[in-house]
C-alpha cells in the first residue's frame, strides 16, 4: 500500500471509530473541546503507529485508551493541583477499555456515553443546523472543513456554528443524559429528523453531487445504525434505517453514464444494491411488526414495495397508495399528498392523479409539484400545458442534475408540439 493510501485508510478508520472515545471523554471532562483535543492527540499517535504496526483489533478501544492518557497528560501540565484533582479522579475511574476483541465485554458505560452524546447533540434547544453540524463533528468524526464543504458554507462559518452550539450546551445547562421514558418519543424523533436531514442532504443535495455529499449519506446510515444498535426497542429508528438503506440502494441507477437523472420507472433495476435492499427489507418488516407504526416505517414500507417489484409495471401501486393514505394519517402534509397523487396516477391513471395534484394547496414554490404535474399532462397528451408546467418547475432553483432532466423534458415536449 502506498504511503498516502495507508494514511487515508488510517484517517478513515480513525474517524469512524473515534465517536465512542469523544463521547466518553465528554462525560468525564464535561467539555466538548477538551475531549476533541484529546482524541486529536490520539490521532497523531495513530498516524505514526497504525501504518507501521497495523490497525489495532479494536480501534475504538485503542483510541479511547490513548486519548484518555493524553487527556491526563494535558491536565497534569495545564492545571493547578487543586483544580485538577476532581477531573483526574474522573479520568482514572474510566474503565480501561479492552484492547482485544476477546477481552471486549459489552461495556454499558461506553454505550451509554454515545447515546448521551447523540441526545445532547440533537437537543431541541439547539438550532437544526447546529444539531447537524455537531452530530457530524462529534459522533461522525468529520472535520469542520469536511462538514463545511458538504453543506456549501465557508469553513469559518461552520467553525463558528460549532463554537456557538458548544457554548450553548455549556451555558444553558443542556444535560449530558439520555432522556427519560416520558420524553423519549419526542427526543428520539429529534435525533431521527437530524439523521434524515443529513441523509437527504447527501442524497438529494440542493447542488450537484460531489464526493463529500455521497459520504454524507453514508455517514447518516452509519449513525442511524448506531442508534438502532443502542436503542433496540425503538421501531422508528429501524424504520428510518430501512428507509435510508432502501433509498440508497438505488443510488447507482439514479444517474446514467452521462450524468443525467433517471426517474424511478426508467431505472435499470439490476444496478440496485441487493445487499442494501435485503437489509432494508428485513429491518422494515421488523419495524412494522414491532408496534405502533410511525412515519419513517411507513415510508420504508413504500420504499420496500418499490424494491420488491421487478419493474415499474409490476409494482403494486394500489398498495403504495394505501401506504400513502396511512402516512397521511400519521404525518399529514402537502408533500405526502403530492407523492400520494403520483402513486394514484400509476394505479388509477394520470387523470385521477392530476385531479389530486390540482387540489393541493400551498406547494406552489415546490419544484417536484410542477415536475409531477408536467409529467402527467404529458402522459395525457396535453403537451402545451406540460411545457408550461416544466417551464414553471425550472423557475424554481434546485439540484443541477434534476434541472438538466427537466430541461430535456421541456425540449422534448416542445419538439413534439412543433411537429
Amino acid at each position: 500500500m502506498a504511503g498516502a493510501d495507508r494514511a487515508s485508510a488510517v484517517d478513515r478508520t480513525f474517524r469512524q471509530e473515534s465517536g465512542r472515545a469523544v463521547a466518553s471523554l465528554i462525560r468525564v471532562l464535561g467539555d466538548f473541546d477538551r475531549a476533541e483535543e484529546a482524541v486529536q492527540d490520539a490521532f497523531v499517535v495513530a498516524l505514526e503507529r497504525w501504518p507501521r504496526d497495523g490497525v489495532p483489533a479494536n480501534p475504538g478501544a485503542w483510541i479511547t485508551q490513548v486519548a484518555r492518557n493524553r487527556a491526563i497528560d494535558r491536565l497534569r501540565r495545564d492545571r493547578s493541583l487543586r483544580e485538577k484533582t476532581a477531573v483526574l479522579e474522573g479520568l482514572e475511574a474510566m474503565r480501561p477499555p479492552a484492547l482485544s476483541p476477546a477481552e471486549e465485554v459489552a461495556s454499558e458505560e461506553i454505550e451509554d456515553d454515545r447515546l448521551r452524546l447523540i441526545f445532547t447533540c440533537c437537543h431541541p434547544a439547539l438550532a437544526q443546523e447546529a444539531r447537524v453540524a455537531l452530530t457530524l463533528r462529534t459522533l461522525g468524526g468529520l472535520t469542520t472543513a469536511e462538514i463545511a464543504s458538504a453543506f456549501l458554507v465557508a469553513e469559518s462559518t461552520m467553525a463558528q456554528r460549532l463554537v456557538r452550539a458548544k457554548r450553548k450546551i455549556q451555558g444553558a445547562g443542556i444535560p449530558y443524559e439520555v432522556p427519560d421514558r416520558a420524553q423519549m418519543p419526542e427526543r428520539l424523533s429529534g435525533v431521527l429528523a437530524t439523521l434524515y436531514l443529513v441523509f437527504n442532504e447527501g442524497y438529494l443535495g440542493s447542488s450537484s453531487s460531489t464526493l463529500a455529499r455521497v459520504e454524507l449519506s453514508g455517514e447518516a446510515i452509519r449513525l442511524c445504525r448506531l442508534v438502532v444498535e443502542l436503542l433496540p426497542a425503538e421501531p422508528e429508528a429501524k424504520g428510518l434505517l430501512a428507509l435510508m438503506l432502501l433509498t440508497d440502494s438505488r443510488r447507482a441507477a439514479r444517474v446514467d453514464e452521462a450524468g443525467r437523472a433517471v426517474p424511478l420507472e426508467a431505472q435499470d433495476r439490476s444496478l440496485w444494491d441487493r445487499a442494501r435492499i435485503a437489509e432494508g427489507l428485513e429491518l422494515s418488516a421488523r419495524a412494522a411488526a414491532a408496534g405502533p407504526v410511525g412515519p419513517y416505517t411507513v415510508q420504508a414500507r413504500i420504499a420496500a414495495t418499490h424494491a420488491e417489484a421487478a419493474g415499474a409495471e409490476q409494482t403494486d401501486w394500489a398498495r403504495i397508495v394505501r401506504l400513502y393514505e396511512w402516512l397521511d394519517r400519521v404525518a399529514p402534509g402537502p408533500v405526502v399528498e403530492l407523492n400520494s397523487a403520483a402513486a394514484v396516477a400509476m394505479s388509477e391513471g394520470p387523470e385521477r392523479g392530476l385531479e389530486l395534484i390540482e387540489e393541493i394547496e400551498e406547494l406552489d414554490g415546490y419544484r417536484p409539484l410542477h415536475a409531477a404535474r408536467a409529467d402527467l399532462l404529458r402522459r395525457l397528451g396535453r403537451d402545451p400545458e406540460a411545457a408550461a408546467a416544466y417551464a414553471r418547475a425550472l423557475e424554481i432553483p434546485g439540484n443541477e442534475v434534476e434541472t438538466a432532466y427537466l430541461e430535456r423534458q421541456l425540449a422534448e415536449v416542445r419538439a413534439a408540439g412543433s411537429r
Binding site: G30, D31, A86, G90, Q170, A172, G173, I174, P175, Q183
Partner: protein, 135 residues
C-alpha cells in the same frame, strides 16, 4: 443552575375579560406557583403591570440619563411576568416551563450567570467552573 423564565405574550384587553375568567387564570397561576414552591424550584417571580405603566431610564454613555414614558419598541408581544427557577439542568427547567398554565404566549428560558461560591456545589459544577476559568 438558575434560570429566568420570561413570560412574553400579547397583553389581553382586560375589559373583555370576565371576572370569572380572570379569577380562573389567577387560580391556575397560583396553583402552578405553589407546585414550583413545593418542589423547591421557585426562587422568585412576579407578574408585571401593563406596559402603559412603564417608564424608561436611558443612559447616553456620558453619565447623562433621560427619563421617558413607555417601552422601547411598539411590538405586540411584550414581557408580562417572570420567574427565577432553580433546576439541575435545562431539561428540567424546560419541563417546568411547559407546565405553566398559559394559552397563547411564550416563555423564554435564560440561564443566569452563575456566581462563584454559590450554595452547594456538586463535583460536576466544580468541573465546569474550572474549565470556564481556563478559557
Amino acid at each position: 443552575m438558575h434560570y429566568m423564565f420570561l413570560l412574553i405574550g400579547e397583553e389581553p384587553n382586560w375589559e373583555d375579560v370576565s371576572p370569572e375568567e380572570m379569577q380562573k387564570t389567577l387560580d391556575e397561576m397560583e396553583k402552578y406557583n405553589d407546585e414550583l414552591k413545593a418542589a423547591g424550584a421557585m426562587i422568585g417571580g412576579h407578574g408585571l403591570r401593563e406596559r402603559a405603566t412603564a417608564s424608561v431610564v436611558r443612559f447616553s454613555g456620558e453619565g447623562e440619563t433621560t427619563v421617558t414614558d413607555g417601552p422601547f419598541a411598539e411590538t405586540k408581544e411584550q414581557l408580562m411576568g417572570f420567574w427565577i427557577i432553580d433546576a439541575p439542568n435545562l431539561d428540567e427547567a424546560l419541563a417546568w416551563a411547559r407546565k405553566a398554565p398559559l394559552q397563547e404566549a411564550s416563555i423564554e428560558v435564560r440561564p443566569l450567570v452563575e456566581e462563584e461560591g454559590e450554595e452547594d456545589i456538586t463535583g460536576e459544577d466544580l468541573l465546569r467552573r474550572v474549565q470556564d476559568k481556563d478559557r
